[in-house]
Symmetry: C2
Subunit: 117 residues, 2 copies
């Protein structure tokens, strides 16, 4: 089964923000951004998520918003971040979001290791 994806011009910023405004989906996009070839299973394994069924919904939200491309390949689905499309439509947005997510991580790590901070 082939999936439907919005064309670059059909992407809307509120859909992108809404898709990425969820910790699981944002974590999945960070895995895809880190490079390498990924399918659903490999992202789940990287994230340590065992419930494959809940991810089906998340993949759909990311796909429908234009954030990722999902292509059948044998018995799996290959996943890719649509960085070129997102960068063309919203220059700087994806990088600001990914940097922001890393900044949040650093802050939380600091708070965990130094509760007095």
């Amino acid at each position: 089964m082939a999936f439907r994806h919005p064309h670059r011009d059909q992407i809307r910023i509120e859909d992108v923000l809404s898709a990425l405004g969820n910790s699981v989906r944002l974590a999945a996009v960070r895995v895809l951004d880190a490079g390498g070839e990924h399918n659903c299973t490999s992202v789940l394994n990287t994230l340590g998520i065992t419930a494959k069924s809940t991810m089906t919904h998340h993949w759909r939200v990311l796909r429908d918003s234009g954030v990722i491309r999902q292509q059948p390949s044998g018995r799996e689905n290959l996943l890719a971040l649509r960085r070129e499309d997102l960068d063309a439509r919203y220059p700087g947005l994806l990088d600001a979001i990914l940097s922001g997510a890393r900044a949040d991580d650093a802050l939380e790590h600091r708070d965990r290791t130094d509760p007095a901070a």
Copy 2:
């Protein structure tokens, strides 16, 4: 009644993205970003929204995520975009989002005026 707002360090990017991933809230933030002093009523008037009650929820989401500050002032609530906090935590994010929203507008305007585009 005073409202609770997260401290700058308590802001989380998925909450900001989720708050802005909604067309009404994104439009409200664009009104605040355009400058001037605003209260709930003046933003609603600018947006042409008459249902004040639905906005109560939207103001809460924007406030709880750290995107806006809402302060009682007489019988109204003054609203302000927390640009300084957001720019400090997520450099470039707010500008990329606001530019992206304007780019979407331009694209939709083009599609409306030239259906063959």
